[in-house]
Amino acid sequence: TPSLRLRRSSEKIYNFMDAQYYGEISVGTPPQNFSVIFDTGSADLWVPSSYCVSQACAFHRRFKAFESKTFHHDGRSFGIHYGSGHLLGVMGRDTVKIGDMTILNQQFGESVYEPGSAFVTAKFDGVLGLAYQSLAEILGNPVFDNMLAQKIVDQPVFSFYLSRRTRTSNPQGELLLGGIDEAMYNGSINWLPVSAKRYWQVEMDSVVVQGGSSFCPIGCHAIIDTGTSLIGGPTRDVLRLQQLIGATPTNNGEFVIDCTRLSSLPRITFILGGKEYTLTSEQYVRKEPFGISDLCFSGFQAFDIISPEGPMWILGDVFLTEYYSIFDRGLDRIGLAQA
């Protein structure tokens, strides 16, 4: 699909249209602040450049390399193609700060060309990728790899808590770099080995719809992706799944559900490492305000990702708001627990 890029035998998905959670970082000395998506589905750090004259850049904070005492010019260029366009930029190195942590000589990209209108409405300035280095477009260590190399964190672990409630909850989400927050989950953690060190990818046993139907009955692979909001799966499976939950397509290729029927819709269970992760209709349907009422959208989206491991599913925010996720680079495993 257009959102898929094949290179160096690894698949790249950049779907910035559905990203929802962002946090603050700073780049340079003195620090220049940016809001970035912390994305486990990519491995690069990029922010807009002050040299960018695209319309999208005008609406965002832009990095002024000439004001940073610690900036090192690289000279190489980079390009990232995503589902609805592409961006181009130049590479550099500088000090990056996340909270109180300082990462020295971090390779990153400054985008100088962000064509199209996709980023014009984006609330975030850039993206900070947390996937494995083999997925990186920009040469050099991804941010978390540098944190490990510079021994900035005690444990080679980071974890995400994402809240469904937007206004009432505090925080709306939390990324903990270097540890696990036991206050953010209930019960025990189920650990799943990473099956390929590109994405945070694990083996999934099956997907079961209440009432009997199932998908990937002999197993398949799933990516745990904080950079996308929905749950993605192979087109043929997801179209059938949409039928089973009574979702009908719109002209936009999205699937809507009658909000009054939510209580009668089946539960959907993802089985990972022998453990069941069940989502109710209230959890897999997304409500968005539309006039004086709500529109209900299916939380499932078709993605055809061809990989050496076969068809893949993407478990995005719809899944991760229900399950606290722990990404362990030391033992190359992912932990999931009830959020």
Partner: protein, 46 residues
């Protein structure tokens, strides 16, 4: 040696375009596959 980063949840680009009534035109211009996918079930596998 741990750092907590507070995350803000904001409407996605898709959601904002929909609210502004711009999503359909945007997808027609940028994501023709979204439309093609509607008919994927009509075609043989592959």
């Amino acid at each position: 040696a741990m750092v907590r980063v507070a995350l803000m949840r904001v409407p996605s680009i898709r959601s904002q375009l929909r609210t502004q009534g711009l999503l359909e035109d945007f997808l027609k211009d940028h994501r023709p596959d979204m439309f093609n996918r509607r008919y994927a079930q009509c075609f043989p596998p592959g």
